[in-house]
Amino acid sequence: MSVQYVPTVADLNEIVEQVWASYLDPEGVNPLIPVESAADASDIHASVSITGSWHGHVVVACSNAAGKLAAAAFLAMEPEEVTEADLIDVLGELANIVGGNVKSMLPAGCFVSLPHVVSAPAQANHWPAAVQVCELAGLWSGESIAFSMWQSRELTGEAAA
């Protein structure tokens, strides 16, 4: 299998900007402010896996507060009204939207899984067959949220050869 394309932070940024413009900040007053590290974005992790001509995962990680803000924005409600079910559904959908758009940038013949959401710190998540290839980390209303792509080790090795 050959790797024609490795997704970049610029790709993630383009997709994330569309999500903010459509759902999270339609008025354009509260953008995602890029930061160096996603160290604090570790309460909730939502992911979709991509298989086929590219193998890997698209992961959305955020603090609980950022997740509630996102759910409130998606559902047009107040953050304090957000339930655990809302939070999980919204973060899963966020991963689905970003993953689906990433797929469109990959070679033909990829499949996107249904989303998987884990309410646990980063240490609870392991991707033993993949390595992180890019990450877009930021602060939104002072809360951490990060989007990352993890690529199959096999593909990474081929790409480096």
Binding site: Q18, S22, V90, I97, G99, L114
Partner: protein, 120 residues
């Protein structure tokens, strides 16, 4: 007019509903389906005038629902709202008889552009 909204995400069903309202399509009878099988069953039983469907759903994918409906002679107006937007998928949708293909994230303006000719 009856509209069937099929998406396994409750959040996305709510967003589609809200965006329809924002785009000026108020007052329609909305029916929801939470997976592809439900979408197919409700499309047959409820006889909606329009089906707005996700692509990637449990039980049956959206394209499987559309093909099953068309295979059974059902010509309901049917289209996709999906985050997956490859040319391959758009070609499959068109070949199966889809009327529209909306990519997530979407805006009320996009809904207005697509749905005005269909239900406006």
């Amino acid at each position: 007019m009856k509209i069937l909204i099929a998406d396994d995400s409750r959040v996305m069903r709510q967003i589609v509903t809200r965006t329809l309202r924002q785009a000026g399509f108020d007052g329609h009878d909305l029916v929801e389906a939470a997976d592809g099988r439900q979408a197919y069953d409700k499309a047959v039983e409820e006889q909606p005038d329009l089906v707005i469907s996700d692509w990637n759903m449990p039980e049956m994918t959206g394209i499987e629902v559309l093909r099953a409906l068309r295979g059974g002679g059902n010509d309901v107006k049917f289209g996709f709202v999906t985050s997956e937007c490859t040319q391959e998928m758009q070609d499959q949708a068109e070949a199966a008889g889809a009327h529209f293909f909306i990519i997530k994230p979407f805006t009320a303006e996009r809904f207005s552009e697509v749905f005005t000719p269909l239900i406006g």
